[in-house]
Symmetry: C2
Subunit: 166 residues, 2 copies
């Protein structure tokens, strides 16, 4: 039997649990606001926001979207379908690569993001940042940023399954 690793120190446990719980509760709160003000789920908001705010062209390939949002491919297909049905986004085959599909925000999509963003910001501010000082906020970002990079280095989620093939 292999040595069991030393248990997590109380400090670590506290950090770990707090992190998970805070993220969970925050997501809940945000989701509620988005649902009420824009009839969007958190994932849908993420997708729209990424397209509308982070992408210069307002469009991305499906797989890149899936990777960016930590989503399975099939799940993304589903959500993209919903967003398209709602007229917030359009799908078109990519010109250079016949297999891939590019997703693009529509004007309606951009408008919706603009509409829900202020409320979104309010919620995040109240829930997450209210108990933190200016310095605390900065520190939090600086602590988590390297962790984020570290985790991203691992294989992207959208593939995942495929690679398991012998």
């Amino acid at each position: 039997m292999p040595d069991t690793p030393p248990p997590l120190a109380p400090v670590e446990l506290g950090a770990y649990f707090s992190l998970m719980e805070v993220a969970g509760l925050l997501r809940h709160a945000v989701e509620q606001q988005l649902r009420e003000e824009g009839d969007l789920s958190y994932v849908q908001f993420q997708l729209l926001a990424r397209l509308a705010l982070d992408s210069p062209s307002g469009s991305e390939r499906m797989t890149d979207l899936a990777d960016g949002v930590v989503y399975s491919r099939s799940g993304l297909t589903y959500q993209a379908g919903l967003l398209e049905k709602a007229g917030l986004v359009e799908r078109a085959p990519s010109p250079d690569d016949e297999r891939s599909v590019t997703v693009m925000v529509t004007a309606a999509g951009r408008a919706l993001i603009e509409r829900v963003l202020p409320g979104h910001v309010e919620v995040v501010r109240h829930q997450l940042f209210a108990p933190l000082s200016e310095a605390g906020t900065r520190a939090l970002g600086e602590l988590l940023s390297p962790v984020r990079e570290h985790m991203r280095a691992a294989p992207p989620r959208s593939a995942g399954a495929r690679r398991r093939r012998r």
Copy 2:
């Protein structure tokens, strides 16, 4: 039209996104390990762990469990059913309050937790704490702990719907 709030500063955005992404990826990683080594979902692990490690009596009421794990009541009913079918917990009507149900870990449940815990700890250590210094870890916990408290102050999730009645 009301004033729109000032947008989140880049520092805040960074902290917010990092937090959500780190939590999401970590959950993914942990879930995978739990699935492989113990055939448990993250939620099931949380429930078992709470009963086996946090509760002196090894038992809790359904609602308290739901609140502690940020879970809807109906979802908990479902999961408790699964865990019971697997022989990891037992449900019994509470002696003092005829309505409420007490959930208790079985020996098998405790054994399973013991079995998966080391691997769990390994994953958390590698994924979350590897890029952090000792001091960083402590700082992270100290930053998030007040936020956690702050968010918990809001109404618990398991009720939520009910209170909306006029």
